[in-house]
Subunit: 433 residues, 2 copies
């Protein structure tokens, strides 16, 4: 890895530059620690807006930010672009594609990956949306589908290409369904005047009894009504059984013919090899209320990958979203920085402050659940935009995203409808592009 | 292709949505013609700014514009995303990957491709920069090189990774060399504090006696001096013989060890099969001064692909740049539109108005040659930016590009240093990423 050993500094390795890892990497005192940040990308991804990349609303570059640009020229900080394969907890070493390295402290912030719940067919045929390349694939596929639908006279084929099934009625699924419904309304009739846009169908499948499980019933009902009014078919209490690339089958012998299944039904911790099964829970690493792993005093976990045990308020673990990740990162880095001055001071346990949650449905439509007030409609939409805008990393990204949103608001358009690197997956498309 | 035949309308097929083809497609009268535009991409590329995508200055989405967005919902207009394989001039049919189609008139505006002058090794190992995916590959490669250089202690290896050889001293080569030199000055020391940025070398190789062959000697000399002062090594009268991916060899037994050769040494017409050798000149289609091919009355060629014969001012053909392409497109579409009203009217031959040319070198540095005045320095740079900005297609793209430029001007930064889809080419990189 070509990183020098500093005798007077303890080495902290952070794996993952997501919301949690980035907080620690940015704030850790470099006069006391040598800080090494490792990520498989050279950029931080603002995952809450991936759906806008997939639906041609934002360019990928405005929701990604170069890690080297976030943490500039500073002493005792090293970023390495690498994949971590294995952690040897006895030797205190991590093994990566660019070499092995010793740690004094290890902070695991690897986040989560798409959870297909073991269904191989779905993994093979459905499209995930957890990374920028995946969102770009989705954008290409959606646009290629319309180009292909133009070419065929077979109504059945046309409909299959223009049917989009989103599995998972959480914020991601709701936001994606809303964005696709707006494409149907504002973009497709202009871009494809020779295509009957009524063939375009958007289905949102949810396993539980309502949308937005993590939010209030009021917000869920508002989202339901809003999506319905945009023409989205919503299937509640619906379990997906299989998807062969042509037909998605659900329980109760229901099925939909479609070339496009987007899988937003769940995530699971992105584990690294080297831990025992009893160190994990629900595919996440068990940590105590100081975010320290149970077995190893010098290993910590934060963000989606961490499962805080014995937590009354969150017996199933904290939500796998940005706010707990950011708070855990901040909590941990404060402890690391403080311990230097007062080793004996007893740390307070981590407590997650849930300020609320929100989801956008479309133009002027969103829902916000705050502890003190619940909002919907235009005001909620403005708040949603403001919160996402200020959360974006980097001044440039905020300006570019805001500019895009303003232009789109007045033009009723999706600006970046470009098939820049065509996505080949299905036989049907392969033969055509 | 699923395009209906209109009995009362002549069908015009335009191949290529570059500067030339787009002019025709936008302006052709749809009450008199059925217009079909075919391109291998669903977007128009603003090629003069590709070098800024390659050097992390602009996101690809701001120099590309969706063709369906440029030409919105209009009657008798059809865009098809397709590759044209062959033209059957007897049957008046084009053959594509999405089917065959008959034309009444054919306008060939396929532009140009990179010219390796028959050298297979160079084609295999050097990097071109004629399309957005190619520019993105280049961006990834440059950034990956620095990540790799960090990992090795072998000085020779480090230097090889950090050496960039640009072949071709035209505007593209000059602009790319300037942008890389600015990365060395402003970006690399901040992003890679542990890397000696003096190892980064930029070489610009030019076969002729001076840079910017198409511009004035004064401008060429200014560009030479400016690049020199930015630390670029300029090799004039230098012929490239070979490149094996490790070492580029020139005449007079000279060579440079480098992992990165960027080929900006020339372009050639992007010909489609179906024409006779005697219909071509210098890999371009021969046309008369009305831009009509010699042999076929219903086939026209415009832009880079067209070679206007018996042209006193341009005996070697018009420059293969945007201005002649735009003017030829405009000229041809006017003839097409006018002939309807006055078939007997004798057409005027096409005459290219050369308003001048320009090239930027870096911050506050550019050269402009106009017929009435020659400029250099800050004013030339402002004019260069203004002309490129207003030439970009689409309001959004102009706003986003301007925003990027303003932010970069004050931050001395390259905003989009993201390795979004890593580019694997060389053994060295393959083993690491």
């Amino acid at each position: 890895m070509n990183i020098p050993t500093e005798k007077n500094l303890k080495r902290v390795i952070i794996i993952g530059a997501g919301f949690a890892g980035l907080q620690v990497a940015k704030k850790l005192r470099r006069d006391k620690y040598q800080v090494i940040l490792i990520d498989k990308n050279n950029y931080h991804t603002f995952q809450p807006l991936l759906y806008q990349v997939a639906t041609a609303g934002l360019e990928p570059d405005s929701i990604a930010h170069s890690i080297r640009n976030i943490i500039k020229k500073t002493k005792n900080f090293f970023f390495r672009l690498a994949n971590v394969h294995y952690i040897n907890t006895n030797k205190r070493k991590i093994y990566t594609n660019i070499g092995n390295i010793f740690y004094d402290y290890l902070i695991i912030a690897t986040g989560s990956v798409t959870n297909y719940f073991g269904n191989k067919n779905i993994k093979l045929n459905a499209l995930p949306m957890k990374s920028i390349p995946e969102a770009l694939n989705l954008r290409s596929l959606i646009l290629q589908d319309f180009e292909s639908a133009l070419l065929t006279n077979k109504i059945k084929e046309k409909k299959k290409l223009m049917t989009f099934v989103i599995v998972g009625g959480g914020p991601t699924g709701v936001e994606l369904a809303g964005a696709l419904a707006e494409m149907k309304k504002y973009v497709i009739p202009n871009d494809y005047p020779n295509l009957d846009h009524n063939y375009m169908k958007i289905h949102l499948l949810q396993a539980s009894t309502r949308l937005l499980d993590g939010m209030s019933i009021k917000s869920a009902e508002h989202a339901y009504k809003s999506l319905k009014s945009l023409g989205v078919s919503i299937w509640l209490n619906c379990l997906v059984k299989d998807y062969n690339g042509e037909v998605i089958s659900m329980d109760k012998n229901k099925y939909i013919e479609t070339s496009n299944v987007i899988w937003a039904a769940g995530v699971k911790g992105a584990l690294i090899k080297g831990f025992l099964t009893k160190d994990m829970k629900k595919n996440r690493l068990l940590v105590n209320s100081y975010l320290r792993t149970i077995r190893y005093k010098n290993i910590f976990a934060i963000g989606d990958i961490a499962f805080v045990k014995e937590n009354e308020n969150y017996p199933n673990g904290h939500p796998m979203t940005a706010p707990p990740a950011i708070q855990q990162g901040n909590y941990l880095v404060n402890n690391f920085n403080k311990l230097l001055f007062d080793n004996s001071k007893i740390m307070k346990p981590f407590i997650y402050n849930n300020f609320g949650s929100m989801a956008t449905i479309g133009r002027n439509k969103a829902v916000c659940d705050f502890s003190f007030i619940k909002l919907k409609g235009f005001l909620a939409w403005i708040i949603w935009m403001f919160v996402h805008l200020v959360s974006l990393v980097g001044f440039r990204n905020r300006v570019i995203a805001l500019t895009n949103w303003i232009i789109q608001y007045f033009h009723y358009n999706k600006s970046v409808r470009l098939i820049i690197r065509p996505f080949y997956r299905k036989k049907y498309l392969k033969s055509r592009f």
